[in-house]
Symmetry: C2
Subunit: 192 residues, 2 copies
Amino acid sequence: MQTDQRISLAMAELMRRQGYAATGIKQVIEAAGVPNGSLYHHFPGGKSEIAGVALRTMGAAYAELVGGLLADGDDLPAAIEQAFASAATDIESIGWVNMCPVGTIAGEVAEAEPALREVVADIFTSWIDEGVELVVRRGYRADDARELVTALVAALEGAFVMARTLRSGEPLRGAGRAMAAYASTLPVGVRR
Amino acid sequence: MQTDQRISLAMAELMRRQGYAATGIKQVIEAAGVPNGSLYHHFPGGKSEIAGVALRTMGAAYAELVGGLLADGDDLPAAIEQAFASAATDIESIGWVNMCPVGTIAGEVAEAEPALREVVADIFTSWIDEGVELVVRRGYRADDARELVTALVAALEGAFVMARTLRSGEPLRGAGRAMAAYASTLPVGVRR
DNA sequence: GTCTATATTTGGATAGAC
DNA sequence: GTCTATCCAAATATAGAC
């Protein structure tokens, strides 16, 4: 793997566990196994530049994951409930660290790191846009779809934090059932 | 105001903007206007002890706020939608900083600061317990109430982060409408 | 492009006079 | 209880040889 990828991957892994502020460049250097000078050669912008790249990579990975879950199955409400439940089972078995870190980083950098706030805003926006497209393709109205997907992302991020803090998958399952019930109230043009 | 209150209040305000890791003791000292020695006299446990006190205070304040919103009005779904909408209007006008910071801190400290993770877990638990009592008192089934309140907290925390990042109140309003729609699907013993 | 050495600032925490 | 001075480790970033 390329040096710059090793660096941004190490940054991503550390941010997932500790967030942005608590993650030190020296930790990144050690985890990536690269010398200090190489890091600043590849990322002249230092810590925040690396974090930006790491965030975009994680954002894209989760978009693919969630998109896949939402695309599966005939019934959207059922697919939603299953996606949340599967996330719950994952973190219960694999470990509480295995969580989407974008929301936590978002809260951390929103006021103090304008450049990173915009990166996260881009990630949220693209998640929503891609999700809306999937939902519209299932026959839902565009404005319903946007509201549903926005609420889905909010519920998912919030439930992740609660699950990790309470060491329980229940918040994720509960949020999934709630969002599925909400989705059931929306009209579907094509398939109903 | 007492010295220790000035300290924990300053810590709370700084954590709201920057999170836990990025907030320095020196910043707290300056913001509170107290000398270094006084801080460690009142809080021998240093930074994490102060953060614990600050978190508990913020947790209680938000419990009261949200509890008041949920207790108002005849119709629970309408009260939920209004509570989220009111939060949206607040942060749009007062400022994006004016947000519940508990969720962000939760993500930050979940793996790295076990003592603070437990403090946040206590806060989430008491929010849920108090919310469940309010909802049960309205005639909902206890298990429905617990699931609803858990999802409410998750959606609220997630929507706060999205709103602050996207600089828009819409995620909060959308999440509120979604949760209201979900609440409408639950049976009410007394009033329906 | 890689690597070592180091500059400089800031972190949290402590000591001890008053 | 209050306050000043200070310690020591860690932070990010840079300089310059190779």
